[in-house]
């Protein structure tokens, strides 16, 4: 089983300090970087599959050169090697460019499953993993809650989250899967894993290494942010510390005033 997991460095949501810089791009210096949550759930699922079935988990990242720091965290969890596409020409790359570059980089690797997040906590576009599937012409199994490959049958089954519960999907491998939190809590790296990660290989590729016309706009992105503003603040509310029965009456009064009961 060979699994390639796309892992994006994002500002740590726990730090709660994400912001745009004066250039209206994400200010990466404002927060520590972590592996995007949905990517990390995919990585955990990949590690468990390979522990059971044998094989290899590798990670693929498109990021500035400093992205290796975040990749080490994924390697410390147990990923065996990494591929980093780092190129100054990719600064601020838009979604179609990201898709082209990641698909071209994935195509240099051999894999049965290519995993990515359903979306990222910073951009939240939710288009990249599906877009990579389209570029590669591979089946897309999205919003995965469970991944069950059948190596003998060369197929994979995925529980896909639906509006009502889940659908059970099946497709031939290789296939592309977008991952969600329902796959399970990622492990903490062990000390042994952290030590091992230091010596694991990260291959860095440039856009030129990938060949093809990946930057048709010459590095100019048509997508751009024109302006940013803080969200509207809500009017200050009322705090009630009364005993339960009195508090309940106040809530009911509030509901009645607004014709909600």
């Amino acid at each position: 089983m060979r699994i390639l997991v796309m892992t994006k460095p994002v500002p740590d949501p726990a730090a709660n300090a994400e912001r745009l810089g004066p250039d209206l791009r994400l200010d990466r210096a404002a927060s520590p970087s972590v592996v995007n949550g949905n990517d990390e759930y995919g990585l955990e699922a990949a590690l468990q599959l390979v522990e059971r079935l044998g094989g290899e988990v590798a990670i693929l990242t498109m990021a500035p050169a400093a992205g290796v720091e975040t990749m080490r965290k994924a390697l410390a969890m147990g990923a065996m090697r990494g591929v980093l596409v780092a190129d100054d020409a990719l600064a601020g790359a838009d979604i179609p460019t990201t898709i082209r570059v990641l698909a071209a980089a994935a195509a240099t690797q051999e894999f049965d499953l290519l995993l990515g997040g359903l979306d990222t906590s910073d951009g939240a576009g939710g288009a990249v993993t599906a877009g990579v599937a389209a570029r590669l012409g591979l089946p897309l199994l999205s919003a995965a809650a469970l991944i069950e490959p059948d190596e003998a049958g060369r197929t994979v089954r995925v529980r896909r989250l639906s509006a009502k519960g889940y659908d059970v999907l099946q497709a031939p491998m290789p296939a592309v899967i977008s991952c969600t939190q329902v796959l399970g809590t990622p492990r903490y790296p062990s000390l042994k894993g952290i030590m091992a990660a230091r010596s694991r290989q990260i291959t860095t590729l440039s856009v030129a290494d990938l060949g093809g016309d990946l930057l048709p706009g010459g590095g100019q992105w048509p997508s751009r942010v024109l302006g940013v503003q803080p969200p509207p603040s809500r009017a200050a509310g009322r705090t009630i510390t009364a005993a339960p029965a009195d508090a309940a009456r106040e809530i009911a009064d509030f509901l009645a005033e607004r014709r909600l009961i």
Binding site: N16, E18, L20, D94, I95, A124, G125, G126, A127, T129, A130, G131, V132, A134, P139, L140, L141, S142, A143, A145, R160, L161, S162, A163, K164, G165, Y166, V168, L169, Q170, A171, Q181, W221, P222, S223, R224, L226, G227, V228, Q229, P230, P231, R234, G237, T239, I240, T241, P244, A245, A247, A248, R249, E250, I251, F254, L255, A256, R258, L260, I261
Partner: protein, 325 residues
Amino acid sequence: MPPTLLVIGEVADGHLTKLSAEIATLAAGLAGSSGGTALGLIVDAAPDGAAAELAAYLPRVVSVASAAAADEVWAPHAAAEARRLLDEGVTHVLAGVTNDGRDVAGLLCGALGWGVLANAAGATWEGERLVVEAVVLAGKAITRSTVDAPSAIVTVTPGAADAVGSGAPGRVESREPAGSPVVPAARVLERVAEAGAEASLEEANVVVVGGRGVGGPEGFELVDELAGLLGGVTGASRAAVDAGWIPYARQIGQTGKVVRPALYLSLGVSGAMQHRAGMQGSQNVIAINRDPDAPVAEIADLFVVGDLFAVGPALSAEIRARRGG
């Protein structure tokens, strides 16, 4: 050249979804204000009902009866039909921020290389550019973005427009399916519904939400009771979902559903930024929490400091008393 906006309609239980109706209204408005046109697309095993519903908002709807949509994933087929319509001059594709809508947007972006304007909460023209407003970074900022190109893919969040019909039903045009999906379509072996899933959180007028403070799956009995009394639907914070107390389908927040009900009532929800991203469009917010410093206090119109297992039943009794006398 004036724009042509294509709305990717979604169908649930044979009907057009509320979100699709809202997107159609938004698209019709954008067509009207630019001298352009808007059309809709329905791809389904039995598309006729939803296509007629979509035609209440748009002058033209293409209805594709796709047998494959019954037992294969929908997005690769829908994206193929959308792609076929591009030959008719489509400049902007609009899809919903749902798993299916985002799959279609991503597949089309990969296939066409068009720019994506994601999570639009509103859209307007500035000259010939389509500019969308989006809530970003877990609700910390609102951006205005554009694509400096004649074409773009737009994903739209619930509430970007109120669904209002055009008054003159549009023309529905039935078509045979294109044949090949944009990527090999995975088979759907089984569709499993989970308990309580028949009620749509996104479309609910009242949402009652349980968080870590409800303490366990049995704590949701109180949440369900209040939801039932208020004619609402039960939701949950991520902490309650991660604890396994309630299915993910009930999760509200950045990584779950986005709701905009008339009333949002939470019990034992701390109200972290990621949760707020899923409920800050609510009209009235009431929160019950034992912790007077819970962040939810900042966004609640009414913040009750107390034990939810005392206040909740008291509220239930109070509502029953006022109703039944």
